[in-house]
Amino acid sequence: MMDYTNQIQDIAGKLFSEGKIDVFIGYRNTGFDTNQVPALITHYKDVDQLVFNEKSDFNLTNYLKYEHTRNKRIGLVVKGCDSRALNLMLTENQINRDRLYIVGIACEGVVNELGGKAQNCLECIMPDAVVFDELLGNPTGKREYKINTDVSELTGKSLIERGILFEEVFENCIRCNACRHSCPLCYCAKCCIDQETSTLYHGANTTSGAFHALMTWSLHLAGRCVDCRNCEKACPSHLPLHLLHKQNEQVIYENFQQHLAGMIRDDRGAFYKYSLSDPDDFIM
């Protein structure tokens, strides 16, 4: 069981007292629930609200988007997957590295609502933070890529069975856009699938609209998704969004030189690179 509560409180306290940051983003318990929620601490006196243990699951890099923290100096806690998202945000020039103080965690996996280890943690490829100013815990290094069990199960089913499952998925989408708001890599101010901002698409909440939106969303994230499951946890309809993202991740891993998002700084997403030997045989 990992618990870095004390270390994080110390680090945050030190940063505030040295005047190095304006806001520290971590986790806190609420008095009203057992979940941990993201906390944006702005005062030294609130530092003792911070906690970190195996329930700290939300990907905090989501708060690096402009609308949440604007131009402030930020202290941040990141686990392995979170730090890969951060790497990508840095690569894509969404945030200035100088403004950040990053506390990296060598993560041992988070638990889901039922108490067992979350699925994405069981299939984790990089539990240690890849970018940090300070690392807590013992790094265990990169792990072997595993194909997601749900995806391989579905691949074994017939086309028609998959069509039935996904029709139900898209029918239950209420187009709330919680998935894209909670994804750290969805930072477009004018999102093309968000009906409020899209100049291309003012869709109603239909099954067909959900098909269009979710497919386009996952294809825009392909090669950039770090499998933090923020989207799936945010979805009020409990849609299995990881199926789409993991399917893309698998195709990209198997066909494009084993590319994984955000492992190396300045390595852009899979669709921003090419190789002369990319598979071509499906093209006439």
Binding site: F32, C176, A204
Partner: protein, 366 residues
């Protein structure tokens, strides 16, 4: 002003049947076989109200935190309100569109908070103009509820301004007594007729069931983790526009629209047109005041660009403005917003923080 607790409902006069769990199942089956019925059906781990043709497909006693409200049956996520076709002779517009939700129907497994939400919504849908679609759906629906045995983590319905025990928001109330029997009570004329049509058990003419029903309510009311002093909060909310607590309480909100979409009383909507070639359909779909661009105006000005202003608007609308206009609170205390929120923001916590009446939960967490 509609009475928020039905003083006319004298419990002694309510028609009540006594039966047992097996009798309850038979009653449900009888209703399903004779009426178009909606009941909670499990999809991806949560329960939505869907049309059912047999009791095996659904679970009227579905767990409270996983059950979405039946708002989509009255205010669907996407409703067609108009159709148009353009031909060489001009454009023909028709607003009689087949409404799949307008037929007579019974909804099983309704929670009392969601039913109360419909009563609260009735005010705004009849306010400046009568929303005929909504009215028709309300008229043609019979609500059969299951009174909760105990409160879920985020429930606070008993702390607000409506009478949870005697509410007439449902037509038939199913109460599972602590003695193992099931009490089925008619709370309206429609409910009485249904129970006469399918008597679920013995008619309690002696009035002995009233005691058991009260006991069940007492046990239920005692199971609440959250409670607040509504009168104080309500009075303080009126003057809380400039409170700095809004900013603090909403700092981790990600403006994802989820709370407004799952809330049984939220009714904001947007209109959009979808067309292919010469035919088009106009839809009315859910919207949320939490969205960044909700108040974006032509010309580019957006008074609620900053996040805490949107949360202030939401909390004030629910606990202050709606109350001033219609006399009832726009929040019914169901807690669905908190359950669905990705970062667990609780409107209960927020209004208490704003009104400076912060209370700790009465039982420790888990």
């Amino acid at each position: 002003m509609i009475l928020s607790c039905n003083e006319n409902l004298n419990e002694m006069n309510l028609i009540t049947y006594i039966t047992d769990p097996a009798g309850l199942q038979k009653f449900y089956e009888a209703v399903i076989s004779t009426h178009a019925t909606f009941a909670p059906v499990e999809t991806f781990g949560k329960f939505d109200y869907k049309p059912v043709t047999s009791l095996s497909e659904c679970d009227p006693g579905s767990p409270v935190p996983l059950t979405r409200s039946m708002k989509p049956l009255f205010f669907p996520k996407s409703a067609k309100i108009m159709k148009y076709v353009t031909t060489s002779e001009g454009t023909a517009v028709s607003d009689t569109v087949d409404d799949p939700l307008a037929g007579k129907r019974v909804i099983l497994g309704v929670k009392h908070c969601d039913a109360r939400a419909l009563q609260v919504l009735d005010h705004v849908y009849k306010w400046d103009y009568l929303d005929t679609d909504y009215e028709k759906r309300r008229e043609n629906t019979l609500l059969v509820s299951v009174r909760c045995d105990e409160a879920a983590r985020h429930c606070f319905c008993t702390s607000l301004d409506w009478d949870v025990e005697h509410t007439d928001a449902v037509d038939v109330a199913v109460i599972k007594g602590l003695d193992g029997k099931v009490y089925i009570q008619a709370r309206s004329e429609k409910g009485t007729l249904l129970l006469e049509q399918h008597p679920p058990g013995e008619d309690d003419t002696s009035g002995s069931s009233a005691e058991e029903i009260r006991k069940q309510y007492a046990s239920f009311a005692g199971s609440f983790r959250l409670s607040m002093d509504y009168k104080t909060v309500s009075a303080k909310m009126k003057n809380s526009f400039d409170s700095p607590a809004f900013e603090e309480a909403s700092s981790n909100c990600i403006s994802c629209n989820t709370c407004a979409f799952v809330c049984p009383t939220c009714h904001c909507f947007k209109i959009s047109d979808e067309k292919i070639r010469d035919e088009g359909v106009r839809y009315k779909s859910y919207d949320s005041c939490n969205n960044v661009y909700f108040t974006l105006m032509a010309g580019g000005h957006n008074p609620r660009l900053v996040k805490y202003r949107r949360w202030r608007q939401r909390a004030m609308h629910k606990f202050s403005y709606y109350k001033e206009r219609f006399g009832v609170n726009l929040c019914v205390g169901c807690g669905k917003c908190t359950v669905s929120c990705p970062v667990n923001i609780s409107i209960f916590e927020m209004v208490n923080q704003v009104a400076d009446t912060i209370v700790t939960a009465s039982q420790s967490c888990e």
